[in-house]
Point group: C2
Chain length 263, copies 2
């Protein structure tokens, strides 16, 4: 059996398109950037684009399609965002309606797809620098929390910043600031280090999304803006239809993680 | 007489609003970020925002107003973009029609203002690191050139990248890469170093915009993406009305240059 982790993005996307892969993409096509998805109709696209522009730490856009186009021309020009995610979720008026593996039948001529960066892109250089990542060690999803840090409003879109949390030693936290600062296009430096109550988080053991992880003695929690933010905010506005990827089932682009490093 | 270079941005903007300052803003309110302006009607705003999003090196957006709002809430929340630039230019169908010091009478309820970063923001840290900047030494405008590097198209907007050029020693060029890499929000690292013909520039002594500068023996030309690009591209699309600042007459924000450094 071939090791799918070593396939090229194009090959992985072909398997996904044929529905031979319909699950989480973590670890697939290592070194290539993965993206989250939010599809909205054109009527909301300007406001949502403005929201992302005003909240770049929470909403790092890797690509935005022309209205009606399903080609993410900047990050994978031969891909089709209607078929190349393993799994999608359809929301009507902000309410989850169904999960599907292909959205060709849901696609409309005035839809705009937003491909949003994710922390996978900076976790790899953290690991390569010898910084252990707890949720990877514990084989679970990263813990995510709603904070009291408001996003900057844009049109109908507003809401709180969601953060992801990684516990680490102080020395590793300093190094992690340096490393993730190189990736302003993918969340960049942490938003907060230390006392969670300062950003409105009162119990690290009950994350709003994802799974709780162990925090060892002497470790500090380090918080990064999380790409769940724009999806959560868009959902709050109850658009007539919105399509996202299913959790963990992301898009594998042709762009290497390293290409997003500014230094 | 007070030294206007040392006034706070708010005080400078008040003088500009009263039309006591109607000329270039270079050197005013040192250390605070200045911004270029492009105002378009809502019908073109999504495409233009998408264009900026796809070409962040050429089009670093510092702020985008809500449609109809003249408050640049992110970078100077009490300012009024209709009165707080020393001088504006009105273009109708892509043709220059007039220069004015106040656009209150031209403002429409569906206008969107794009405030675009400029290289002033990274020139200061270059100077502070002891890198001489020729056009400042020679007291003229930076030379700018059209290149053969196409911008990524978005809707009706497309065109070539315009670059600014600063000649310097090789050692300074290396240091300049490091310094400007810290400012991904304001053009970031250079696009090109050395042979101009590789990017379609055949005569450095005849810039397309700005003034030619001396290149000394042993110096290399270093090229950065330039904020003139989005204005030039928007103009090409001949929108019914477009308003920009007059060259050199920019907006002084409340944000310090240093705030745009990621490291």
């Amino acid at each position: 059996m071939r090791d799918v982790a070593l396939l090229e993005p194009k090959e992985i996307r072909a398997l996904i398109r044929k529905q031979e892969i319909t699950g989480p993409t973590a670890g697939l096509s290592k070194g290539y950037t993965q993206a989250n998805l939010a599809i909205l109709k054109k009527e909301h696209a300007f406001d949502f684009l403005l929201f992302c522009q005003r909240n770049t730490k929470q909403c790092p856009l890797l690509d935005v399609t022309e209205p009606g186009s399903f080609r993410p021309a900047l990050i994978a020009k031969d891909a089709d965002i209607r078929t190349d995610f393993p799994k999608y979720r359809i929301y009507r008026d902000g309410v989850f309606s169904e999960e599907v593996t292909d959205i060709t039948n849901f696609w409309e001529d005035d839809m705009v797809a937003f491909l949003i960066g994710c922390s996978f892109t900076f976790e790899r250089p953290l690991l390569e620098s010898g910084i252990p990542i707890r949720h990877i060690e514990e084989n679970c999803n990263v813990p995510m929390y709603k904070t009291n840090i408001p996003c900057v409003k844009a049109g109908i879109f507003e809401g709180p910043t969601v953060v992801s949390m990684r516990p680490m030693s102080s020395a590793d936290a300093i190094r992690a600031v340096q490393i993730t600062s190189r990736f302003p296009a993918v969340h960049g430096a942490p938003l907060h280090i230390g006392d969670p109550s300062q950003i409105g988080i009162y119990d690290l053991s009950t994350p709003d999304f994802g799974d709780a992880v162990t925090i060892k003695a002497g470790e500090v929690p380090v918080f990064w803006a999380c790409g769940v933010t724009p999806q959560a905010v868009a959902m709050e506005s109850k658009p007539s239809i919105m399509i996202t990827h299913a959790p963990g089932c992301m898009f594998i682009s042709d762009v290497k993680d390293k290409a997003y490093s500014v230094l």
